[in-house]
């Protein structure tokens, strides 16, 4: 405190203005830089909630159970997958497109590095041939109508037709 009393304000004021100015100057510049380098991940953080398909409520409920047991650990609760490892199921051609191609992946598995929206994934998708036609129809319909997806359900009949056809081809 003795020091403080001895301090001459006149002598010290310009010094502080200079000091604060120089530090503040730095901050301004930083801010400017920041706006240019905002990471892409900060801009898209909305997780769409699952859209229930009105026509097949029991497919959705049963399909969700199959999904939770067999698929969720890899493709994640919201269908976003895991970058580098497991692809997303949200808004992909394989999920929304041709039903037989989708069933082919579920029944035979896939370990070829499918390209999904410009990325590939390194994990192995196992075969789910042990699931019965009903379970497969349920889970396929569920992923086609969850995570923001919307597409016609896959019926049990479509699964059994697919299975008979691929059996005959062997």
């Amino acid at each position: 405190m003795i020091l403080a009393r001895n301090f001459r304000t006149a002598q010290i004021a310009p010094l502080f203005i200079f000091l604060i100015g120089s530090i503040y100057g730095c901050g301004e510049k930083k801010k400017e830089n920041d706006t240019h380098t905002k990471p892409a991940s900060e801009q898209e953080s909305e997780v769409p909630s699952p859209v229930e398909s009105a026509d097949v409520p029991e497919y959705m409920a049963e399909g969700q159970k199959v999904y939770a047991q067999y698929c969720l650990s890899c493709h994640q609760v919201n269908g976003t997958g895991v970058s580098r490892l497991n692809p997303p199921l949200k808004d992909t051609d394989y999920v929304l497109g041709d039903k037989n191609r989708l069933l082919g992946i579920l029944v035979n598995g896939s370990n070829v590095g499918l390209e999904i929206r410009g990325e590939t994934y390194s994990n192995a998708m196992p075969s789910f041939k042990q699931l019965d036609d009903t379970e497969l129809a349920h889970v396929a319909s569920y992923i086609r109508n969850s995570f923001g997806n919307s597409a016609t359900p896959v019926t049990i009949g479509e699964v059994s037709t697919f299975r008979t056809k691929s059996e005959n081809q062997k």
Binding site: N6, L15, V47, Q76, N78, V82, S122, N123, A124, P126
Partner: protein, 441 residues
């Protein structure tokens, strides 16, 4: 007394003017960065979103770099970043900080391959794709002399996509160590398929699932020229040579999916925590036991894998090496670094930093990791429990799926001043953590 005080004030005043000048110069100056400019680091007021121990500060060196995997820093503070995927034919970026404020700009890009491994040594800059290891000549400052002239040291390593990162480390005897991860979860006949049992012996171990050793003075080496240095390691992304102890230390990614593959033995919660992510101190011939066993950090035991007849309790083979540190499951250790700098306080010297990429296989439970942990070491052995050193990379308190994380720690490097650099392959950010000595108020 009074005279003395006056003198002090005068001195203090001069010092403050000088400090102001340093700030100004640091801000706009064209000066090259060197050790005397540390005071000008533009540290982030909120530690760039990270939670750090008292006395530490942080800043973002760069952002939006794509998917940076491992990193290396030159003696002048230049930074090499290995990208997961080459962007515009450039898989390695070189950054420099022109004005010493800590942020760095990309100066150069080269190497038309994606990959993970990168490290710098007097003998050159080493970088790996997912099947090869390359070396570039460097000048005294650690700068690559000619990016177009490159030696292929190692080639033809197995890449079946799963666990294909080829992380690298050097010893001081002209050897280079390369991780060759197993292209499988647990060597089932059908990978990750329900009810498929394990193959015995596991055929993968001939060409993967271990650390291979090659020479740094030979080119175009493959399996025939190298040797399997250690086996039974499912996938190692983080490894480092410990200079104190002259041994290679590695962090293994433990197996996935105990519950989904064996729901009768493991419930969801058990499977979220098991098995341990493990650190090993390797000798030539070490065997960490994958796929036949896993390490249970709660029982502190090597447990027989369910694919090989285990029930969660039966013990595995006795001759398998024990880990020296066991972390909770699925945290995904992607980098290991022994701290040899002197910027950080005594406690950190020669200890191990581990970058945890963060889990996915804990779903549907909350995910964990997304941090940098620290293990103190004495005489080449852990001397205390691990602790979380830097946290908050995810940018959110609770995280259900990796996609929600803003950043995922992937690589670690030490700067010439002892700063710790952390790379992130989610947001593409490079962080720099420094010790400022100013305990938080």
């Amino acid at each position: 007394m009074k005279e003395y005080a006056k003198k002090s004030i005068k001195t203090a005043t001069y010092l403050l003017w000088a400090l102001g000048l340093v700030f100004l110069v640091g801000c706009g100056g064209e000066q090259k960065n060197d050790a005397t400019q540390e005071t000008a680091l533009d540290l982030s007021p909120d530690n760039a979103g990270l939670t750090l121990p008292d006395g530490f500060g942080a800043l973002k060196v760069a952002d939006s770099l794509g998917k940076p995997r491992h990193i290396a820093v030159t003696a002048q503070g230049g930074i090499y970043v290995k990208l997961e995927n080459a962007v515009d034919g450039k898989g390695i970026l070189y950054l420099e900080d022109d004005d010493g404020n800590g942020t760095a700009e990309v100066k150069q890009g080269f190497g038309d391959y994606g990959g993970t491994g990168i490290l710098l040594d007097k003998s050159g800059l080493y970088a790996s794709s997912n099947s090869e290891v390359f070396r570039y000549k460097v000048d005294a400052d650690g700068k690559v002399v000619d990016p177009a002239s490159v030696d292929t040291l190692i080639t033809g390593l197995i890449d079946r996509r799963q666990h294909n990162s080829k992380s690298i480390a050097l010893d001081n005897s002209g050897n280079i160590y390369v991780n060759i991860g197993a292209y499988s979860n647990s060597c089932q006949k059908e990978d990750r398929a329900l009810g498929s049992m394990g193959m015995k012996p596991c055929p993968i171990l001939d060409s993967a699932g271990g650390i291979w050793q090659f020479r740094t003075d030979a080119i175009k080496q493959s399996y025939g020229e190298g040797k399997r240095f250690a086996t039974g390691l499912r996938n190692v992304v983080g490894l480092d040579w410990n200079e104190r102890d002259n041994h290679l230390f590695v962090m293994q990614h433990g197996r996935d999916q105990l519950h989904t593959l064996f729901p009768d033995i493991y419930d969801i919660e058990t499977s979220a925590n098991l098995p341990a992510e493990t650190m090993y101190r390797l000798e030539e011939g070490s065997d960490a036991g994958w796929p036949y066993i896993y390490y249970d950090q709660n029982q502190n035991k090597k447990i027989m894998a369910p694919e090989y007849g285990g029930d969660g309790k039966k013990l595995g083979a006795e001759d398998i090496q024990d880990p020296i540190v066991a972390f909770p499951g699925h945290l995904a250790p992607n980098a290991l670094l022994f701290y040899t700098g002197d910027m950080f306080p005594e406690k950190y010297r020669n200890g191990a930093f581990i970058a945890f990429h963060g889990s996915w296989n804990r779903a549907p439970e909350e995910q964990e990791g997304y941090n940098v942990a620290f293990v103190p070491f004495e005489n080449g052995r852990p001397s205390g429990d691990y602790e979380i050193f830097a946290d908050g990379f995810a940018g959110t308190d609770s995280i259900m799926s990796p996609d929600e994380a803003q950043h995922r720690p992937t690589g670690l490097a030490q700067g010439p001043d002892g700063s710790l650099y952390v790379s992130d392959d989610q947001g593409g950010t490079l962080f720099r953590i420094v010790y400022t000595d100013e305990a938080e108020q």
